[in-house]
């Protein structure tokens, strides 16, 4: 062998020494470290130009204006639009989610037709043809459920049903707005009601979770904020009456614990005390009212009904009397299911306090003109009760519809006694679901029509419930084209209607909205802005009426506001209805049953949206522990039921049962179990699915005598260890 070991060692040694003096090792080491910051499987951030676009949130019920950051034309993050009166720069968890939800794994990407147990993808032409055929065939036996609470889309759908001859089968998903609207009508009120928190100096929230689920939540929160500089004493007081520390209770100066569903009794108790203190009203039924509350709602009786001590109630009444601008807002602790009587009683207190259509009081706001022939008005829509209808279908008293259209609504998940309701829905002949996400309702539909999300379509937000002024703003597409093969649902409805020979007078929703804007702009209102604050206008400041191109202004994210209330005549205190509705009040609870309350948080999404992926991080481990719902009781209640923290329990209602883990917290009143809402999805994506259980399943919907409103905020459950 010519080369011996030494030579090889020499070569290797020389090579090694040489290599040390080249960049090979050092540069490679450095490059590897640089590589670790550029791993190909981790997304890169966009580099293009940052711009802002303005639109309105359709996913958040508060109707907030959004300021959306875009890079290279793609919407990335949403913040509150500071110039929009309903957001004033604030944004809720749902509003925040509008950008990334575009890419949710749960999105429906193509029209789907159910064949057997499976969905198959079909073309839009097929889908449209099928829908048109079904419309033609359904005749008067159709029904529609809309998840939109206020938009012009409801005009389109209700007009379609009217053309089919079943306008009475147009339903909204239950909301406070409907129940409050119904109550207002029963008292002889006109217009929609709203609450002027910004100008009030004492706000009493009766169950109404003002910053989370009740009314124009963002406007409420911003009004609250403006009254508190954190340096001086707050310019207004906020008292929360409810069975648990809700979002609103945490920000209140006082939390007055009260059994769930008993808001009416509190209000009437206060009314009795106010009248005793000299309050009166020129309402025609004042005398009857006085007699009714004086007899039935003395502090002692109220204490028995609500758990509020007599002296506490008296203090509350005193606070209201002493306040210059008191305001009482009733609602449900979870944004739905409060009895009509609660709203009526609270409105009656406001009437006694002379707080109707005055700054810092309750405002009746005008409805904007309709633009679709045959459409229902907001007031008319409020009268149709979906829970009542479906209960009747479930009981076999009313035939199931042959065609059921659901629009941005998820009734299979979002209604009380959910399993029973879902069953009633399943009985419909043909179910066409306009859905952006594969939700529980879409999953059981025959035809799923993928709907563009607000950032992909034109839409509008019209005076959300609770706003003390009429307000109109537009939703516009921020993307050049939808992320998936989706269409704006209303465009599809208009096209299908035309195809079925039921033309609704417009061939695109965008054009229809232009007509709507033109009609709205004639209402003598103004564009809200820095010098044109609706709250200031309500307080008496003159604001110049708008002139100019309203479409252009609204497309830039502005809000058109009418801040003049609807005059009231013949307003009553609703004594007769109240008396009838509350006849059963005070009935003894069943043994072993516990009052159930829920907490709804926008961060846990909504029935039609599911839990937005990024919001999940804000869901607390006191609501959801892994995949388990957490039921919260205080130590005293737990002791009564011999429960300990961490134990598994079963909660049973008349229509179903759910399981939960026990957590102890003194933020819930004795005798009440609090279960978070918005969990328990069986559809959607991994961020929603199999997370906790749906508390609506154990709720009991009860039809209130006289008002006809179905309520479930006072549900009771049986509780047992498992």
């Amino acid at each position: 062998m010519g080369v011996d070991r030494r030579a090889v060692i020499g070569l290797i040694a020389g090579g090694a020494v040489g290599t040390m003096f080249t960049p090979a090792i050092w540069k490679t080491t450095g490059s590897i470290a640089l590589w670790s910051q550029n791993w190909g499987w981790i997304p890169r951030i966009p580099k293009g130009e940052r711009k802002y676009a303005y639109t309105t949130s359709k996913l958040c019920p508060s109707g907030s204006g959004l300021k959306v950051l875009t890079v290279d034309g793609l919407p990335l993050t949403a913040a509150g639009n500071p110039a929009h009166p309903l957001s004033q720069g604030g944004v809720s968890a749902l509003g925040l989610s509008e950008c990334y939800l575009l890419y949710s794994p749960a999105r429906v990407k193509k029209p789907l037709l159910k064949t057997g147990a499976q969905f198959k993808e079909i073309s839009w032409d097929e889908a449209l043809g099928l829908l048109a055929d079904k419309l033609k065939a359904a005749g008067g036996k159709a029904a529609a459920i809309s998840g939109d609470q206020n938009g012009t889309a409801n005009e389109v759908i209700s007009a379609l049903l009217a053309k089919l001859g079943c306008a009475d089968k147009f339903f909204l998903m239950p909301s406070e707005g409907q129940a409050a609207g119904r109550a207002w009508q029963l008292m002889g009120g006109h217009g929609l009601i709203g609450y002027d928190l910004a100008n009030a100096d004492t706000v009493l929230a009766l169950g109404a979770d003002l910053f989370e689920s009740s009314g124009a939540t963002m406007l409420n929160a911003r009004s609250y904020s403006a009254q508190r500089s954190s340096l001086d004493k707050p310019a207004a007081k906020l008292v929360y009456v409810g069975s648990q520390r809700t979002t609103t209770a945490y920000a209140s100066s006082k939390w007055v614990p009260c059994l769930p569903g008993r808001e009416a009794a509190v209000a009437l108790g206060l009314a009795a005390l106010l009248i005793k203190g000299g309050a009166s009203s020129d309402a025609p039924d004042f005398a009857d009212f006085k007699a009714f509350v004086s007899a039935g709602y003395t502090p002692d009786k109220v204490e028995a009904l609500t758990g509020i001590k007599a002296e506490v109630l008296e203090k509350l009444a005193k606070k209201l009397t002493e306040a210059k601008k008191p305001l009482v807002v009733a609602g449900s602790e979870f944004g739905q299911g409060a009895p009509g009587a609660a709203y009526m009683a609270a409105l009656a207190v406001n009437i006694l306090l002379k707080r109707i259509n005055v700054p810092g009081g309750v405002y009746a706001t005008p409805e904007f003109p309709k633009v679709v022939d045959g459409a229902l008005s907001r007031t008319q829509m409020a009268s149709a009760d979906l829970v009542k209808y479906l209960s009747s279908v479930a009981a076999g008293k009313t035939p199931a519809p042959e065609l059921l259209i659901t629009y941005d609504a998820n009734p299979a998940f979002g209604l009380p006694q959910a399993p029973a309701m879902a069953k009633a829905l399943a009985g419909a002949g043909f179910k066409a679901a306009f859905a952006s996400f594969m939700d529980e309702t879409a999953a059981q539909a025959d035809l799923v029509l993928p709907a563009s999300l607000p950032m992909e379509r034109y839409d509008d937000v019209v005076s959300p419930y609770g706003a003390p002024f009429a307000v109109y703003s537009l939703v516009k597409p921020l993307l050049k084209k939808p992320v998936h093969d989706t269409k704006a649902a209303c465009d599809v409805i208009l096209a299908a209607a035309a195809k079925a020979g039921l033309a609704l007078g417009a061939d695109s929703f965008e054009k229809l909205l232009k007509t709507k804007v033109a009609a709205v702009a004639k209402s003598g209102g103004f564009i809200a802005g820095k010098d044109a604050s609706p709250s200031a206008a309500l307080a008496g400041k003159d604001v110049a009426a708008f002139s100019g191109d309203p479409w252009k202004a609204l497309m830039e994210g502005a809000a058109y506001v009418v801040a003049s209330p609807v005059k009231q005549d013949g307003l009553t205190l609703g004594t007769k209805t109240l008396a009838a509705a509350l006849k059963a009040d005070g009935a003894k609870a069943e043994d072993g049953a516990l009052a159930l309350t829920c907490a709804y948080k926008t961060r846990s999404g909504s029935p039609a949206v599911g839990i937005p992926a990024q919001d999940l991080t804000a869901v607390r481990d006191t609501e959801l522990a892994g995949t388990k719902t957490v039921a919260t009781l205080n130590a005293a209640t737990a002791k009564m039921f011999k429960l300990e923290a961490g134990e598994s329990i079963k909660l049973t209602g008349p229509a179903g049962e759910i399981s939960a883990l026990v957590a102890l917290s003194e933020t819930v009143m004795t005798g009440v179990v609090a279960v978070p809402m918005g969990f328990g999805h069986t559809a959607f994506d991994d961020f929603s699915k199999n997370k906790g259980q749906n508390v609506l399943a154990v709720m009991t919907a009860t039809e209130e005598p006289a008002t006809g409103v179905n309520s479930w905020s006072g549900s009771k459950v049986k509780i047992a260890k498992i």
């Binding site: 030494r6 020389g14 090579g15 040489g18 003096f21 960049p23 550029n38 890169r44 951030i45 130009e49």
Partner: protein
């Protein structure tokens, strides 16, 4: 093996060792300084042989005319396909190399309105925050290659491991200048 103790072997081995050591050393130096960079960097050319010279001299265009600062100054930006299309809307049909290149541009990008995947020599990684608006006092060429005089765009060398462009200004470069000018060198001035 057995004869490794012999003096001759040791002596001869020593010389051989030294020779081989030098061979190894030289080989490693060549491999490390010449071969290794070939291996590490991929060489890429721009999607279109764009001549800055033609545009700057013959066309009389300013740098900023195409490389407009974005309103916020964050990203100097490359011209959009539309901007190219303003002048090069139609194919020239010419036979010269330049004409063919223009036709390639028109056919591949302008007409279907597709973004041109230009390679950015000074491309900074995501973790760098750089604002052109804070550096307006400098000539472009104090950091960027002086392409204005170039007829052919320079070759783009990309580190295969780190994916960085070889020409990218690296942290010590930024730091040096900041230090010399007495500008803050705190981490977050340039990182995000």
């Amino acid at each position: 093996m057995e004869d490794r103790h012999s003096a001759k072997q040791t002596c001869g081995g020593g010389v051989l060792f030294a020779i081989m050591f030098i061979v190894g050393l030289a080989g490693a130096l060549v491999a490390g300084w010449w071969g290794f960079p070939q291996l590490l960097y991929s060489q890429n050319s721009q999607p279109i042989r764009f001549s800055h010279k033609v545009h700057a001299e013959a066309g009389g265009m300013e740098c900023k005319q195409c490389h407009t600062y974005a309103a916020s100054g964050q990203y100097v930006g490359l011209p959009s396909t539309e901007a190219c299309g303003e002048c090069h809307a139609d194919e020239t049909g010419g036979k010269s190399d330049s004409d063919k290149e223009i036709d390639k541009l028109v056919k591949t990008y302008v007409q279907p309105n597709k973004p041109i995947p230009w390679l950015t020599y000074q491309f900074q990684p995501d973790n760098v925050f750089f604002s052109h608006s804070a550096h307006t006092g400098f000539e472009c060429v104090s950091c960027h290659p002086d392409v204005a005089k170039m007829d052919n765009p320079p070759v783009y060398y990309q580190d295969r491991l780190s994916t960085y462009s070889k020409q990218t200004m690296r942290m010590p470069g930024c730091e040096r200048c900041h230090a010399e000018l007495g500008v803050n060198n705190a981490c977050y001035v340039c990182h995000k």
